[in-house]
Symmetry: C2
Subunit: 123 residues, 2 copies
């Protein structure tokens, strides 16, 4: 997967409340499919479908225990998605600050121009 | 929108390379639809469709200029999505460290047990 394909897959996988809840659960430790089915009012096939989406996106992997086949949290796509979001939020914030400075400068120029006008009127 | 619906909409909107490129462009300053169409090899209706998805998700808004109708970047959903990702990545990291500590303890206990056995064998 290219980095753009990875972001597509990560964000698409995260756009579902059940999948986010599964990830939230796995963040505190690996769990088998049965353990994941328990807290949800969902059938095992429905949960398995969500797990497949998460696995394909690389957000979870399978642990070594061949019997339990525990699913575990994979942090890398989280870090990459956060990096993308932060990059553009920061770029926006930097430009926003530049805009603020520009607006302050415009206000200051306007005040200076008014003052000059007033001084000229006094003479 | 509830906070979960907002995350659904944010992540779904971000799961597309054109929409991410539009957001990347708007992060450096607002732009009209025509200005957004230029850099993409896409028709105006196609771009407008993507803009609608971004607007519905609250990731962009429309500026005041009635003629240009410039689109602008909205940072709030970025911040909320980042907060969600960071929360669970941190929870995972904290648990991972606890697991590391546990493994170290197990190794240490094993070494101590072996040493005791060796000492007993010497007597």
């Amino acid at each position: 997967m290219t980095s753009s394909d990875q972001l597509d897959a990560t964000f698409a996988a995260l756009a579902d409340p059940t999948r986010r809840a599964i990830l939230a659960r796995l963040a505190s430790g690996e769990a088998s499919v049965n353990e994941l089915v328990e807290p949800f009012a969902m059938s095992q096939p429905a949960i398995s479908k969500h797990l497949k989406v998460l696995e394909r996106a690389g957000l979870i992997s399978r642990g070594r225990d061949a019997q339990r086949r525990p699913r575990r949290f994979e942090a890398k796509p989280f870090v990459e998605a956060t990096a993308w979001l932060e990059k553009y939020r920061r770029l926006w914030a930097a430009n926003f600050q530049r805009l603020d400075v520009l607006l302050e400068q415009l206000k200051f120029d306007e005040l200076k121009a008014k003052e000059k006008k007033r001084e000229r009127a006094k003479r």
